[in-house]
């Protein structure tokens, strides 16, 4: 089965007054329909650049190399006409900050209808009827159709953005910090909505956030980026609970699990600052901040190595996988194999088990919750 989205050795370099800035430095991953991938990393690591590249939304003059295959077609080689069809209908993006992405002087139903009119060449009124249906699906009351964006709350505006992203039934949705600005409870509502839609429509989802804990809860796979490269990629509960790359470990420890006694009165940080993309450190870009860096790390560039068949990390301390059954393999990385990492993993998994039971409950709560916003 060919993947819906396949990114192969994607490299993106911005041009600026300061010279060439490598934002993305050779990343590869693939997604099948129904897959969800969380892409995590700090500001400036290149995660939003990847999202923009999938729909070719990068500023003119940006150098892009590698391949982005969307449903078998190379996005980078598409004619502009094909690209217009693919945007919204093949893949769509939900951006952060819905206030800035919506037109302040147009009623929301009309905005949701706009891509439908353009793509399906149906009348404006028929498209608006579809828009109202979509609003119901994302839990917005239908009387809101004639509202302007400023009359909606932040959570409602974010739902409008999601309705718009769904308007032309895309196979891929990219959510770029779609819930970051929302309150916890509203965030929970929007995340539950995204999860449900992905499951119902067999959509592939790329969710971008700096918040590893939210991604781990929403997506099946997690990929962590640092300085334009993937440093770890694998199943969510492994990457969040038992990260192999020291940066992924630090990032997952930065979001405490409430109720975990080890993290009580014990905030975990990482010294230093993210590197300047225009002046990257030699060798592994993480080595200046790495608590377990070795001499070789300053000079050796590390590519992703297999931790397991479905799990990779880019760290010299990750040994190539021994040819034994995975169950008998001790955790490959000395750093992560400490009792702390394993305990944390076990705790996270216990709670994950709890959260899987949540499925049915989720739907029940949502059914009562979405019509009275």
């Amino acid at each position: 089965m060919t993947p819906l989205l396949e990114i192969d050795d994607l490299t993106i370099t911005y041009r600026s007054a300061r010279g060439e800035i490598p934002a993305v430095r050779g990343i590869s991953f693939g997604l099948q329909p129904g897959d969800s991938l969380g892409l995590a990393g700090e500001s400036g690591c290149g995660k939003s650049t990847v999202a923009a590249a999938v729909l070719r939304l990068l500023p003119r003059g940006t150098q892009v190399s590698g391949r982005i295959m969307l449903d078998g077609e190379d996005v980078l080689k598409m004619s502009f006409g094909t690209l217009r069809v693919v945007r919204w209908a093949g893949a769509s993006i939900v951006f952060q900050g819905a206030m800035h992405s919506l037109n302040p002087v147009q009623r929301v139903a009309r905005q949701i209808a706009e891509p439908i009119v353009l793509h399906e060449h149906i009348s404006a009124s028929a498209a608006e009827e579809r828009a109202v249906e979509l609003m119901t699906q994302v839990g917005l009351p239908t009387w809101r159709a004639r509202s302007y964006p400023h009359q909606l709350s932040g959570g409602q505006r974010q739902r409008v953005m999601i309705a718009m992203a769904l308007a032309c039934s895309p196979q891929l949705i990219i959510a770029d910090e779609a819930t970051t600005a929302l309150d916890v409870m509203i965030q929970a509502q929007v995340l539950a909505l995204i999860k449900r839609l992905v499951a119902e429509r067999d959509i592939a989802l790329v969710m971008i956030s700096h918040d590893l804990s939210v991604l781990a809860d929403t997506c099946d796979q997690l990929a962590v980026m640092y300085a334009g490269k993937l440093v770890e990629h694998g199943p969510s509960h492994e990457v969040f609970g038992n990260a192999q790359h020291p940066y992924a470990q630090a990032l997952s420890a930065a979001f405490p699990i409430v109720g975990d006694p080890d993290e009580r009165r014990n905030p975990q940080g990482l010294a230093g600052d993210p590197p300047d993309p225009a002046a990257l450190p030699t060798g592994c870009s993480f080595h200046p901040r790495c608590p377990v860096a070795m001499d070789e790390c300053t000079s050796t560039t590390v590519e992703l190595r297999a931790v397991r068949h479905d799990w990779q990390a880019a760290c010299l301390r990750v040994e190539a996988e021994p040819t034994q059954p995975p169950a008998a393999t001790p955790s490959a990385l000395g750093v992560a194999a400490g009792p702390d990492a394993r305990e944390r993993d076990a705790r996270a998994q216990e709670r994950d088990a709890g959260s899987q039971e949540r499925g049915a409950g989720d739907l029940r709560v949502r059914a009562t919750s979405e019509d009275d916003t």
Partner: protein, 334 residues
Amino acid sequence: MTDGTTKPILSATDLAVRFTAPGGRIARAVDGVNLDLLPGEILALAGESGCGKTTLARTLLGLEHPTSGTVSFQGTPLAYSTKTLKAYRSQVQLVLQDPTGALNPRHTVYDAVAEGLRIHGIDDNEHDRVAEALSRAGLRPPERFFLSYPHELSGGQRQRVVIAGALVLHPQVIIADEPVASLDASVRGEILALLMRLRDELGLAAVVVTHDLGLAWNIADRIAVMYLGRIVEQGSVDHVLTDPQHPYTRALVSVLPHSPIPEPVVLAGEPPDATDVPAGCRFHPRCQVLASGAAAAEGVDGHCRTDDLPILTGGEQTQVACHYATSRAQAVTS
């Protein structure tokens, strides 16, 4: 923790702050709050946007005049004359959320930190005081940062400069409004560790206003959860976050990733606005306990809909403003 006899350093008594909204409606931003901050304590003030937590923090700082009730510092009610407020603000300092907005882009780090000293007319050893505050805030060696401008620093460093500006006057209390919300994940922990270290080394008490319960779990001793202008539950972080009694707190904790509460409760809709506080328990229109019929089974559903709850009395014990939880607790003890 203390034995219950320690006098609070900062307290709010029956505090209310009302604003007139456009159209003449009255917004009850803070609607009756008792809150005590003990010396050397980190208190998290948690709630969603619009719950009144920032207004409460501003009132504690003397930046808003309360409509009724008092703010007391070391037992003395705050007077709102320019002179007393100035003296008060050298003792109780504010740390803002967005360090980029809080710093003047044309002031060097040295000027930004020395500004407080200059306003308060402290002119001896300015150089040493600034250097000390910067190194306390983790910018070492401080001289290296003196002549930097904010744009030359990273987000975490800027937040440290803002904290140094608050420390330079040797305050007894810091009020921090979402101190890490605008920072990158890996930097967040470092700034939180700094706040804890300041408490341990200087005995600095802090009120940390946040929507992030993980932050409270990371650094706070006690937590007060606000909903629509009232504190609905308060107590030690260990109790409140692992076994919340108020349905609102329970819902907030339940939607956290890997929550200690297995069944997530995603509340309906959004909080009503402060001009339209529901009658009875202000949370009842969204309350999952009332909706599930558990409150009716307990025989308190009528109270939930009609009787406003008494205002929590402050102090450091665990308290909850909920008819259902109170009735259950009485059933257990009797």
